[in-house]
């Protein structure tokens, strides 16, 4: 009898519980305003009555892949697994909105590093095996990821919990200014829309000024880019933003005729055949010759590796974090590297010689 009573009480309690319903969302009504994006081809921002509608476009076909409603009255707490976006957040001085990052050793900004030390910002690791519960516990309401794979793990579950998971396809842009333009999205998320727009305008202005300098160049040195991973050499595609940067810097990129923005794969035989006499090698990803030879001993046959004055390497985390938002500085560095006859007052900002 007592068991029946307990059962009755449990059932009665269950039925007496009220389900909390989500407040009905306002429908976003788009305004008839001109598009806000000039260079980027992988996202669109459309002003609506509640803020902005963000459309992420598929880099392969340009079709709308995902749409998000970004409300202007929302205080966003961000987890960003994209080094590019971390750099843009730093430029807008909104590091305190960043409560999560990918891996600590990809971080360059000192304030984000301080926040990591104070455990205000948490490392979430690689996007392929990120902890769902850790994301939920962090109270983040937006997650940016690189979109290297097909889908973010548990994306649908996170969406049900009101956490927007947004792929950042800046790395598939075909113009460096298109890559930098993603700062406009960061501006909207962090409530610094006008600052982001002003910053981007200044970048465009400076990029165009440096580009004008290279108009007078008559000789275009040949260049190779990328590096070996396993038995495969990954080089930027001919339509990628980096190929555009090399062209704008007055260099003749060996693989400029290849199609697509994604990396191209080559065997070492092909690289040697095509590049035995190439003048420059950009972005070998390791900063010293000895480390480069450790992972790719055949590199010593490349003229650009052997000839001390022609081989450069990026300063890892600084480059990953800042270069997307500062394409004018990447361009300036590359012009300095390819054309030492053009004098600049500034030192190289991102690049250093591989020694």
């Amino acid at each position: 009898m007592s068991k029946l009573l307990v059962l009755f009480l449990i059932v009665a309690t269950l039925f007496s519980c009220k389900r909390t319903e989500k407040p009905c969302c306002a429908i976003d009504v788009p305004f008839e305003e001109p598009l806000l994006i000039d260079y980027a081809s992988n996202f669109e921002l459309i002003k609506t009555n509640v803020g902005y509608s963000l459309e992420i476009l598929n880099p392969e076909n340009g079709e709308i892949e995902k749409t998000y409603s970004l409300k202007s009255n929302t205080e966003y707490k961000i987890i960003s697994l994209s080094a590019t976006l971390n750099g843009m957040i730093s430029i807008l001085n909104e590091q305190n909105k960043l409560i999560g990052i990918g891996k600590e050793h990809f971080i360059y900004d000192t304030l984000i590093l301080d926040n990591l030390q104070k455990e205000y910002t948490q490392p979430f690791g690689d996007e392929t095996n990120i902890s769902l519960e850790k994301i939920i516990a962090s109270n983040a309401n937006i997650v940016f990821y690189n979109g290297f794979g097909d889908k973010f793990p548990n994306e649908d579950k996170l969406a049900k919990l009101g956490i927007a998971v947004i792929p950042i396809y800046d790395w598939r842009e075909n113009h460096p200014l298109g890559k930098a333009e993603w700062i406009k999205l960061v501006g909207i998320i962090t409530g610094k829309e006008e600052e982001a727009k002003a910053y981007f305008s200044s970048v465009v202005e400076e990029y165009d000024r440096i580009l004008a300098i290279t108009d007078t160049i008559s000789h275009q040195p040949t260049t190779l880019a990328g590096s070996m991973f396993g038995d495969i050499w990954f080089a930027p595609g001919g339509d990628s933003y980096f190929a555009t940067l090399l062209k704008d810097a007055g260099a003749n990129y060996i693989y400029s005729d290849t199609k697509g923005t994604a990396s191209q794969e080559f065997s070492m035989e092909r690289i040697l055949k095509d590049n035995i006499a190439t003048d420059f090698w950009i972005n070998p990803t390791l900063p010293t010759k000895s480390k480069l030879l450790d992972v790719n001993p055949k590199a010593k046959y490349l003229n650009a590796f052997n000839n001390n004055s022609y081989c450069y390497s990026a300063k890892m985390s600084k480059f990953w974090e800042q270069s997307a938002a500062m394409p004018h500085l990447v361009l300036r560095d590359l012009v300095q590297i390819f054309h030492p006859e053009i004098e600049f007052d500034e030192e190289l900002y991102f690049y250093q010689k591989v020694d």
Partner: protein
């Protein structure tokens, strides 16, 4: 020694196939290189010609490593199968490769320059292989069934790979990159200058295998019978583990882990040759292992214009189904 006519015919066929496929291996690749250029690179190498650099510095070391890796790993597999009296034993399955990997991971990720040097990596790969050889030998004394030993080997492998993953998560970006590249497995990392030491060490290991043919032939009868016939079992075990460590260590150090060759090839040899004579088994494993990796690498090179495939992936694609077939055949 009693080599049947059929077995000697297969051995001669293998001996003929190897130079033929070696020539094919030298001539395929993304760059068209004529036989005259290959001949010039072999006889009168001139660094001023790109095609001769490609032959001399890429294709010849790659060919040499294909032959050495296939031969060494197959001989090791055969020795382990005889030692443990278990046709499913092999350096990969029993965790010997994993032991090497663990010590290489430790050497790369400790940040100590000596350990990360070529010499440090080789030494650590050898020590790792030897240590895990001893561990599996210890377990083989405790368990009675063949399946139990294989399971212990697999568990050791799983434990080590978890530990290596932990090391990877704690290491910095550059160390992680160096280790990840090594772990992918490749026949192309070796330089022509490193070949003499690899050839020397591999030859010592293989010569060692031929020196213990007699006790190996007796060991097939079972350990008790071997003891009765005067074989010093402890010494033979230690010699086999040492040869295993030398051959697995040197190949793993330079090519990364290569799966299934050591398991699949000796089984194929036993099916083809139907003998317990270790002179024939070792010779055939050596030749067939070399030919197996050689053909795998030719396939990889032919596929290169479409997609680039690591050697470890192809040996697993071919080797794993072969092993399943062997198991099914034994169960029948």
């Amino acid at each position: 020694m009693g080599i049947t006519k059929k077995n000697s015919t297969i051995l001669i066929a293998l001996l003929i196939c190897i130079p033929v496929f070696a020539l094919i291996h030298l001539s395929v690749g993304q760059i068209d290189i004529s036989f005259q250029e290959i001949w010039r690179a072999l006889t009168n190498y001139d660094e001023h010609f790109v095609n001769e650099i490609i032959v001399s510095e890429i294709r010849i070391p790659r060919l040499s490593m294909a032959l050495l890796a296939g031969a060494s790993l197959s001989v090791v597999g055969l020795l382990m199968q005889t030692l443990f009296n278990n046709p499913l034993a092999g350096p990969y399955v029993l965790g010997i490769n994993s032991g090497s990997s663990l010590f290489v991971a430790l050497s790369i990720m400790t940040g100590v320059p000596f350990f990360a040097s070529d010499f440090g990596i080789i030494a650590n790969a050898l020590v790792g292989a030897f240590l895990f050889g001893l561990i599996i030998l210890f377990f083989s004394r405790l368990v009675r069934t063949q399946v139990a030993l294989l399971l212990i080997g697999l568990m050791l492998g799983a434990f080590i790979s978890a530990f290596v993953s932990f090391l990877q998560s704690a290491s910095d970006a550059q160390e992680l990159k160096v280790f990840t590249l090594w772990a992918l497995g490749s026949l192309q990392k070796v330089e022509s200058a490193q070949l003499p030491i690899i050839i020397l060490v591999s030859f010592i290991g293989m010569a060692g295998a031929f020196l213990i043919i007699k006790p190996l032939n007796i060991l097939v009868l079972g350990e008790n019978e071997a003891k009765l016939l005067g074989v010093n079992i402890k010494r033979v075990r230690l010699i086999i583990i040492s040869i295993t460590a030398i051959l697995t260590g040197i190949i793993t150090a330079f090519c990364g882990p290569i799966a299934f060759v050591g398991l699949a090839v000796p089984n194929l040899v036993r099916i083809l040759f139907k003998t317990q004579q270790h002179f024939i088994l070792i010779s055939a494993s050596l030749l067939m292992g070399a030919l197996f990796i050689l053909i795998c690498d030719i396939v990889i090179q032919l596929l290169e214009p479409h997609f680039l495939l690591p050697i470890n992936v192809l040996t697993s694609i071919i080797g794993a189904p072969m092993v399943i077939l062997f198991i099914l055949k034994r169960l029948k």
